[in-house]
Assembly symmetry: C2
Homo-oligomer: 387 residues x 2
């Protein structure tokens, strides 16, 4: 009997947090008040200017396919954005609009990764990244990271862990789950190291913009040969719209064009029009107000988690996550998260969703809820810890 | 230097029609009037009720992620649709909402196809299908088909062409590019044959609804073990919205759930809400009016192409394509298409986009333009042929 699930699916696991999320929804249906700090989706709505642009396009009724690589105006606007934010010139030909960052990862690995090749990533890291590699029958080589490198891969770690089968290296800065950045100098060294080894450098920049201390730097500042994944979901507040982008090296433009035609046809048209409205000064000012609010949330949650006895080895500088060491309370963070949900109605994500390294001693808190809601969550958490 | 394009991309080609399309757009910029009969996108706008539903959702501002498998209401509505249209009961758990039919193909092959395995398809067929298989490092085994089987694979052809490496069989009915249906009895036999061989049956039903003579039948009528790909793009008039679906066998539900979480996160939220408005009696009545218009277009184009000397071995019964034998005029349909565009401003798709078998002797005409526009196109075509 050949009608069986593909082998790759044995290695692709569901997110553990999904089990908790389903339980949280069940509890909500039963009337319980659940405070959500588990999902990477802010409570903010999409900015009004963006919504208005989407509605205006729908009003025309002309929701037709766009070019596979995206609307030319949007590709140009994204290229301009690199000039404004990072002082880098990017040819719009290298910018591919995709259905979210997930589409960007599909495209990046689809055009570059052969079966059996390895991609190096940090442990902990975002669980989908490994699964994209598995989708194309590649392998992920996880390298344990800790506070000594801000939970990031370094040139040194890359060199030590490079194998014959290594194809490239993925760095996410800010990182999910740790919220940490790789600093400018280390980033430059890491990219240079990868290129010296002849590998592909994949830069996950989907939390750029949501950065609270040092400025972020794009991989494109150091190299035209990097693959850069970004999205309108997080900083731009467009999660459900599903629009992101991929910047590819020149040598991959033709392949990206061909593959995008086949696997996307195009990115949702109304979402592209809406995204195009993101770059106005008014909307950027609104996003800056939100960034300041996120920063206040980060500081509030960070200080309170420390006060309660969690250890946080690196103060997170970006995204909207704190990866907290809960070993003072438990050696099983999944059970901790489950009990916290059942007893106090606070939903968080257990470390095992992000890898194996010290996963049972960590919990990811998302500060996607308001300070009022987080304040209530912290009261409940404190009660939970005192039991 | 390892930073090179993945091997699979050597076998994934751009659509030849893209070259013509770019040229057509250039000519339009120069002021030429181009009649488009090359692209699989009707001139109709999205139905008003669907647009209104999309706008209403946007007005709330709540464009958040949905469940990875799709909104429960939409999955249920799609399941109900199978009951209404085909009298088949489908558990909504088996229905996965995807970013267009392309997303459905990604999901179907991602969860079922191992590298090196073969999928059998007809030649001619839609070019993306082969490329999805290549994406996962599988191989497509093309089987030449002709009018003797309505350009469809048959149980007999399947049995004769089944190999050790065969994983499954894809049948598209109505077919793109031929517009032909597999009849009910042959469909049943083909599915039974594939299951007897232990293979996966992939049923591309994206043109269901756009059927003008005999009623269409879903693979689900004959088997709960078929993978069924469908979409809101064509019949429902929602091309640019990017929303489709996949029905999977029970044994693949868990794998589909896991993979959808990873490669989609979710399908665009506003598109899902809008799609949900498709199934009202009022909207279905609007779609029926459009179907009748398409039927009139089919008859008009079919008769006129025959009059001009094209041969059409099987009268197309569905979709919005006519695959016409142009061997009376040329033995190079690509050059024919190029000259027709340059000299007369009529854009059509050359056969080579759909395979190798007699490809140079065929042209695909899409009747996605109004009868008035097609009438003008036929006048130009007649002039072109008389030169």
């Amino acid at each position: 009997m050949k009608q069986q699930v593909a082998d790759r699916m044995q290695g692709i696991s569901a997110f553990y947090v999904m089990e908790l999320l389903q339980r949280a929804k069940q509890l909500e249906r039963e009337g319980r008040d659940i405070i959500h700090m588990e999902i990477g989706e802010p409570d903010f709505q999409t900015p009004q200017a963006v919504i208005d642009a989407g509605r205006a396009l729908l009003k025309t009724g002309e929701v037709k396919y766009t070019a596979a690589a995206g609307m030319p105006e949007l590709r140009s606007s994204i290229a301009d954005y690199y000039q404004q934010q990072y002082g880098v010139t990017v040819d719009p030909r290298r910018v591919f609009v995709t259905p979210g960052a997930t589409g960007a990862f599909l495209l990046a690995f689809g055009i570059s990764l052969n079966p059996g090749e390895q991609v190096m990533m940090s442990d902990p890291c975002y669980p989908c990244n490994d699964n994209f590699v598995r989708l194309f029958n590649g392998h992920t080589h996880f390298v344990n990271v800790d506070a000594s490198t801000q939970y990031q891969l370094s040139a040194d770690l890359i060199a030590k862990n490079w194998y014959l089968a290594s194809k490239g290296v993925l760095i996410a800065s800010p990182s999910n789950p740790t919220g940490t950045l790789i600093n400018r100098e280390d980033f430059h060294k890491a990219i240079t190291q990868v290129h010296q080894l002849g590998g592909c450098f994949y830069s996950d920049e989907i939390y750029h913009g949501l950065i609270y201390d040092q400025p972020a730097v794009s991989a494109l500042v150091f190299s035209d040969e990097a693959f850069v994944i970004n999205s309108f979901s997080k900083f731009f507040g467009m999660t459900g719209w599903r629009v992101g982008w991929l910047v590819v090296p020149d040598a991959f433009v033709e392949a990206a064009e061909k593959l995008a035609q086949n696997i996307f046809i195009s990115t949702p048209t109304h979402s592209q029009y809406a995204a195009l409205a993101s770059f106005t000064p008014e909307n950027m000012a609104e996003l800056e107000r939100r960034r300041i609010e996120f920063k206040a949330r980060r500081d509030f949650l960070y200080e309170n988690l420390l006060r309660l006895g969690f250890k946080i080895a690196c103060k997170p500088e970006g995204a909207f996550y704190i990866y907290a060491d809960c070993s003072a309370f438990t050696d099983n963070s999944f059970e901790f998260a489950r009990a916290l949900l059942e007893q106090e109605g606070v939903a968080v994500t257990p470390g095992r969703d992000f890898g194996l390294y010290l996963a049972d001693q960590h919990i990811r808190f998302a500060y996607t809820a308001s300070i009022d809601r987080m304040s209530a969550a912290l009261t409940r958490l404190e009660r939970f810890l005192c039991r």
